[in-house]
């Protein structure tokens, strides 16, 4: 009855992707989901009548185009619409617009600094070089430097070669980039606070580090390595909200015969004789399968749903030491109309772009200090968007939906759990920040969903509410993700695999971990591969 070839735990985008490729290879696959709805952090929810919230992830760029095409997601209803552009409001009443158009951006930057406007070309070239280095590895399994297997050695050699081709100085600059802070990196190009601050936001989103913490330059890259229609670094909305991505993936999965079971809260992975044999739900139901794939983050995978006696000690320790820090919050707001913003023409296309309210690296660093001190940022960095400016399905006509991503919010407040009062205080600091630049904004609020790390963890199951399922620092990237020695999607138990954002290439709605894991599973089963290779980048 409950017998499958493979069971995937968690119907987030990676779980569905993984399931789809296994099903496409002819396996009988079930994806189990704890919630009554699918999507994980890739959801659209109608929490206020008529308004749809992408209440976790909210924009799309990283979703691998190879997967979109291969699983025919557009045919299954997915439409990704780029929005482009962004604004950072300044305390002095001015602002910085980040136009997509090069000349326009140059002109806007020149208003702040001609040197910066010119340096941007150098910045863009240097940063593109880095995205070009990483992009070919997104749809691949990382080689294991500690292994002596021919495949790992060959992959490592190839990896090394692509870096060696840069020449000595560029290679060293690359190492500097991968280990440096976004603040120091930007200081090497720009002199204007607001320009640096606008760009630096991408270096701290979802990350428990400050703009001057080494390692944040890579996080910036992580937000630049995606694309919309081949425009590397561009971002877009999934029409209908991020749930449309999960929805289309689920249809693709079902089209290959896959089965989705909701309200299935997994208690433990069943292991017999050192082999995964299925899962047991909290309600006692059991599902049998020789392949069990966890789409939960590494901590939940190894510390919650796996019996410690089935795991080697080093993996337990590695899972405990895995860095997955809550650092972000989210507000989803239903608005009675379009708010006005100081200094922006309401007809400007910038109303459809991202808006930020931190105009200096110092303010961003201070926001991080609050987090270190165990409280939410009193002057938070916000990544705010009004998706209903681009996507008419998000709110009733004339009304709007606002998505506010908030950095930073700690997993615990001064060492204790979040209380409702804390949540109110957090919400207030965010609304105040926006109101500073939008006098009529508060009066337009019809409904506000506020999610601190507490809610994100409780509802989505992301440990500490970490959106990337593990910090994106080098100690947890590539062959180190989730842990050194376990980066190839195989858990230490035979037949058990990992496919979450906690594996390479990491977080964001990318679906690459799910696909890469499927390729490894199929290879172990000696089945033909169904997972597409990465597009060659020129």
């Amino acid at each position: 009855m409950n017998q499958y070839d493979a069971i995937v735990i968690g119907a987030g985008h990676n779980g569905l992707t993984n399931g789809a490729y296994l099903a496409k290879a002819g396996l009988k696959v079930a994806v189990l989901e704890r919630n009554p709805y699918i999507g994980g952090a890739t959801v659209s929810r109608e929490l206020h009548k008529g308004w749809y919230y992408s209440n976790c992830s909210y924009v799309s760029s990283l979703l691998r185009p190879e997967i979109t095409r291969d699983l025919e997601l557009p045919r299954h209803g997915l439409q990704v619409v780029p929005f482009g552009g962004g604004t950072t409001f300044m305390r002095n009443g001015d602002h910085f617009h980040n136009f997509d158009d090069h000349d326009r951006l140059h002109r806007e930057m020149s208003r702040h600094s001609k040197r910066d406007a010119n340096a941007y070309d150098r910045y863009a070239a240097d940063t593109s070089l880095q995205t070009k280095l990483i992009r070919p590895y997104l749809m691949r399994t990382p080689p294991d430097p500690t292994s002596m297997k021919p495949r790992d050695l060959a992959d490592l050699l190839e990896f090394a070669r692509s870096f060696m081709a840069l020449g000595e100085e560029k290679l060293l600059d690359t190492i500097k980039f991968w280990t440096g802070s976004v603040g120091d990196y930007l200081d090497g190009y720009f002199e204007t606070d607001v320009i640096k601050a606008h760009i630096a936001g991408s270096g701290i989103i979802g990350t428990a580090l400050g703009v001057y913490s080494p390692g944040t330059a890579y996080v910036l890259l992580h937000h630049y390595m995606g694309d919309v229609d081949g425009n590397v670094g561009a971002w877009g909305f999934a029409r209908g909200g991020m749930g449309a991505i999960a929805e289309s993936l689920s249809k693709a999965f079902q089209s290959y015969g896959g089965e989705i079971i909701c309200d299935a809260n997994v208690d433990e992975i069943i292991v017999r004789d050192g082999r995964a044999k299925g899962v047991a739900l909290k309600d006692g139901t059991e599902y049998q399968a020789d392949i069990v794939v966890s789409n939960l983050d590494p901590k939940r995978t190894f510390l919650d749903i796996t019996n410690p006696k089935d795991l080697p000690e080093d993996v337990l320790k590695k899972a405990q030491n895995f860095k997955i820090r809550g650092s972000s919050g989210k507000l989803n707001i239903a608005l009675d109309g379009l708010p006005t913003f100081t200094g922006i023409d309401p007809r400007s296309r910038m109303m459809g772009g991202e808006m930020h309210f931190s105009d200096s690296l110092e303010r961003q660093e201070r926001a991080y200090d609050d987090w270190k001190n165990g409280t939410w940022s009193k002057d938070p960095y916000l990544d705010m968007l009004i998706p209903s400016m681009t996507d008419p399905t998000m709110a009733p006509p004339g009304k709007h939906m606002m998505s506010v991503f908030v950095q930073y919010a700690p997993p615990k407040v001064e060492g204790r759990d979040w209380t409702d009062e804390d949540k109110d205080g957090f919400e207030k600091s965010v609304l105040d920040q926006i109101s500073n630049y939008s006098p009529d904004f508060r009066d337009l609020i019809l409904h506000c969903e506020t999610r601190t790390p507490r809610e994100i963890e409780a509802e989505v199951g992301l440990t500490e509410g970490n959106i990337f399922m593990g910090e994106l620092t080098f100690d947890q990237l590539l062959f180190n993700r989730p842990f050194p020695g376990y980066s190839q999607y195989r858990a230490p138990i035979k037949g058990m695999y990992m496919c979450s954002s906690g594996t390479h290439p990491g977080g964001g709605v990318m679906a690459a971990p799910g696909a890469n894991a499927a390729r490894e599973i199929l290879s172990d089963l000696k089945r033909p591969n169904t997972v597409p290779g990465g597009y060659a980048d020129d």
Binding site: P145, T146, M164, L166, G167, E168, E169, L171, L172, D173, I175, K176, T179, G180, D184, D187, G188, L209, Y212, S213, P214, G215, D314, Q320, N321, K323, E362, E365, R366, D369, K372, N373, T473, F474, D475, Q476, F479, N480, F483, P484, G485
Partner: protein, 519 residues
């Protein structure tokens, strides 16, 4: 005909070490320094009549024994004291003592005891690997010659030989922060903080800054380099400078003090001389600078003599530091709650927790002084009574963190900051204030002015990975040679970096000789 084969700019420890090795190889060497004392940061100064202090570095913990032997520094007069324990002071007087592998006091548990030993063992494994990289030039990666390839292969082999577990751990640890690693391994807040202090000394980083495991490893290399552990130099740190000077002279080098190099002179496309403050020009085949890279390129040579890309790298080299120094002359032995004389002579650390260190770090980022600081204290006059009049004492303390500049300026802020620091010490040493005969606070710009270290950075440039190893000080000027023919680096701004270690000087000398740059 040149006057010298090599002129070493700066008679700091690295300059003297480099000069001594070059002289030992039969080269005509001149070491020049604007200070009247040799040793640079290894310096002793009179704070008040009869009170002498090590006014910059106060501990010796990673000076390479190999250099001591090869240059005959003991014969040249270097005497060091007994191995210091680290005593992490607690407010209740029940202090934590770290004595080699042993921990005692402050209610330290057996779990932490065992964890500490295991931790030290693993750190030693990593340090031994790093040692392969430290006692020679850091290899180039693309333009690697055979020497570099051999180094890389040795490293690779070393990694494999550590065992898979250690290698996996190293891959994870090398870029992360000491804060997490301490929390992963230990429970005792005082222990974690005391160890974390080793990671942040001389840097512009807090314990939560990624890369502080690397700086910790850098310091932990001391266990491999200097068998004697943390010690004080008898006669003050300046005695190390004196010994190095004697050794260099014994090997045939000329050491000229009190005469600053005003300019490194370039003629045509190569460096050929130095211009001294007395107006004289001394010709040489090569100039080897032990000054930090910012000073060497930016001031002594001048960025106008570099190509633009290199000049850009010079200005982007990070040299900020948050390390300050408190010096007190005391009328008697201070009384620290819970410490007897045997305890007082140890290395005393005040850092209640890692969060306290981090909180001390935060204000500095915004040019603020903060009101809570952490201390690394030495009362050297107990083991070495020559440093103070009979029955009286000197206390020196490294203080973290104070900014390079403050909004009001240091002239305005200095008195109250100094007062605040003394007040913080009094919480552990009641009555200390009444014993003060003389006091001073040195902040980063003071170190910059006194020792010519840009930014007052003790490591001659932030020792984070992106400015370390084969990236040190920056691409294009690695392996001790620079983009300018005839100009070399031998200071802490060159690989393997800062602390009184002597290796940049030794490595540079070997490399310069190997290249035949002085023939």
């Amino acid at each position: 005909m040149t006057d010298y084969d090599a002129i070493i700019v700066g008679a700091g420890h690295n300059g003297l070490v480099c000069g001594a090795y070059l002289a030992k190889a039969g080269k005509r060497v001149l070491v020049v320094d604007g200070r009247d004392q040799p040793g640079g940061c290894a310096s002793t100064r009179e704070l008040a009549a009869g009170f002498r202090i090590s006014d910059c570095a106060q501990w010796l913990y990673q000076f390479d024994d190999l250099i001591v032997g090869e240059l005959g520094l003991q014969a040249a007069g270097l005497t060091v004291g007994r191995r210091k324990q680290t005593v992490a002071l607690q407010t209740d007087g029940d202090h934590l003592t770290i004595d080699g592998d042993l921990l005692r006091g402050a209610g330290i548990g057996t779990g932490d005891q065992a964890a500490y030993q295991a931790f030290r063992q693993q750190i030693d494994v990593f340090a031994k690997l790093m040692l392969k990289l430290y006692r020679g030039r850091a290899p180039k990666l693309v333009e690697a010659d055979w020497t570099d390839r051999v180094t890389l292969m040795k490293l690779g082999l070393g990694l494999k030989l550590m065992g898979k577990g250690n290698m996996q751990d190293l891959m994870r640890l090398v870029l992360i922060n000491i804060y997490d690693v301490m929390n992963e391994n230990f429970d005792h807040e005082g222990l974690k903080a005391a160890l974390a202090m080793d990671a942040i000394t001389g840097t512009n980083m807090g314990p939560r800054s990624p890369n502080t495991v690397f700086t910790y490893l850098h310091r932990a290399l001391g266990n491999q380099l200097q068998a004697g552990g943390v010690v004080q130099v008898m006669g003050g740190m300046g005695a190390l400078g004196d010994a190095l000077k004697s050794a260099a002279e014994a090997h045939g080098a000329t050491v000229r003090l009190g005469c600053r190099v005003r300019q490194i002179v370039k003629e045509g496309d190569r460096v050929c001389a130095v211009l001294l403050d007395d107006g004289s020009t001394v010709q040489t085949k090569a100039v080897v600078s032990s000054a930090d890279p910012t000073t060497t390129f930016g001031e002594l040579l001048g960025c106008q003599h570099l190509e633009t890309g290199m000049a850009r790298r010079v200005t982007q080299y990070r040299t900020r530091s948050g390390t300050a120094k408190l010096h007190l002359a005391l009328s008697g032995l201070p009384s620290f709650t819970g410490l007897d004389n045997g305890g007082l002579t140890q290395r005393l650390v005040i850092a209640p927790s890692m969060d306290a260190i981090e909180s001390a770090f935060n204000p500095m980022k915004y040019a603020e002084c903060g009101d809570r600081h952490v201390f690394d204290i030495s009362i050297p006059s107990i083991e070495d009574p020559s440093l103070a009049p009979d029955g009286q004492h000197v206390l020196t303390a490294l203080v973290h963190y104070l900014p390079y500049e403050t909004k009001a300026g240091w002239a305005a802020d200095r008195p109250q900051v100094l007062d605040g620091l003394v007040a913080q010490l009094e919480a552990y040493a009641p009555g200390l204030r009444e014993q003060i005969v003389a006091s001073e606070l040195l902040v980063p710009p003071d170190f910059e002015a006194a020792y010519g270290m840009a930014g007052g950075n003790w490591h001659h440039g932030e020792l984070s990975i992106d400015q370390a190893l084969m990236m040190r000080p920056f691409p294009g000027s690695t392996q001790y040679a620079t983009a300018v023919p005839g100009l070399f680096l031998c200071g802490a701004g060159a690989h393997p970096g800062g602390s009184l270690m002597g290796l940049p000087g030794r490595n540079a000398a070997k490399e310069i000789l190997k290249q035949g740059a002085l023939t």
